[in-house]
């Protein structure tokens, strides 16, 4: 079977689901962050796959590039927040930081 668009999409789908699961179940904030990276990567794969097979030339790659930039920024800020949380709570367990609780 010729490797086509769908193959890549399936990989990205799996990656996405794994990321989602990770975000939902992990307690540690850093783990949550890692899972988020997975989701971002899956999206990037989609972009590039569509760029390659969809005839969008460079547009998809450009988008992926910006996603990478954003990811870098996001991680930087997120880690800073995590460090801050750690200073305040002395742990980084997401489920225990429930100030939003109604």
């Amino acid at each position: 079977m010729e490797i086509g668009l769908t193959h890549f999409l399936i990989i990205s789908g799996i990656l996405f689901s794994l990321g989602l699961f990770g975000i939902a179940t992990r307690k540690n904030a850093i783990m949550v962050l890692m899972s988020m990276e997975l989701i971002l990567n899956s999206a990037n794969i989609n972009f590039i796959a569509f760029s390659r097979f969809g005839g969008f030339n460079m547009e998809g790659q450009i988008a992926a590039l910006f996603v990478i930039i954003l990811a870098a920024a996001e991680v930087a800020v997120a880690l800073a927040i995590v460090l801050n949380i750690y200073q305040n709570y002395h742990h980084v367990n997401v489920d225990e930081i429930n100030k939003l609780k109604g």
Partner: protein
């Protein structure tokens, strides 16, 4: 099965297995190292998709930057005395719910990928040279403003991160 397919499946396998490692491993360090493999795998897939420059970028930024950052994060937020550096467990109900949701999302996605008729204009011609040239041209002409904005955003994010993470206040 040609070489392309072999390489593809190899990379797909690496990505999926290492991703599972990231998600399911209880030890933080294991997860982090699995993430390293995932990134490599994704970079390979990029290369297969004719996006060689992005593949390099993926390795440089994700592996060289983000991952290092994450590992630092791990080190800084975990007490050294905690030898295990284990991520705490969440409740069973959460596990169950998350599993259901993730699986259903996966099913849904796979169903959609298989059934949707994308109605695309057709595959792009494969570049035999590096895509770097074309990418650079587009980036500095059509998307120059976006590029600049992204650069500024990155700068602001880093300054902001430094500010937030500053000790005390």
């Amino acid at each position: 099965m040609n070489t392309f397919q072999i390489v593809f499946y190899l990379f797909a396998l690496i990505v999926i297995i290492s991703a599972m490692g990231v998600v399911f491993s209880r030890k933080l360090m294991y997860s982090a190292f699995s993430l390293l493999f995932t990134f490599f795998g994704v970079a390979g897939i990029y290369a297969l998709l004719n996006a060689d420059f992005l593949a390099v970028v993926q390795i440089m930024i994700y592996v060289g930057g983000i991952l290092v950052l994450i590992i630092f994060g791990v080190m800084l937020t975990t007490k050294i005395t905690d030898v295990d550096m284990i991520s705490g467990k969440t409740g069973k109900w959460v596990y169950l719910g998350a599993s259901i949701v993730s699986l259903s999302v996966l099913t849904l996605l796979l169903y959609m990928f298989n059934t949707v008729n994308w109605n695309l204009p057709g595959a792009t011609a494969i570049y035999h040279d590096s895509s770097l040239d074309a990418l650079g041209t587009v980036l500095l002409t059509k998307y120059v403003l976006t590029f600049l904005v992204a650069a500024i955003l990155l700068l602001i994010a880093f300054i902001g991160a430094a500010l937030i993470a500053r000790k005390g206040n």
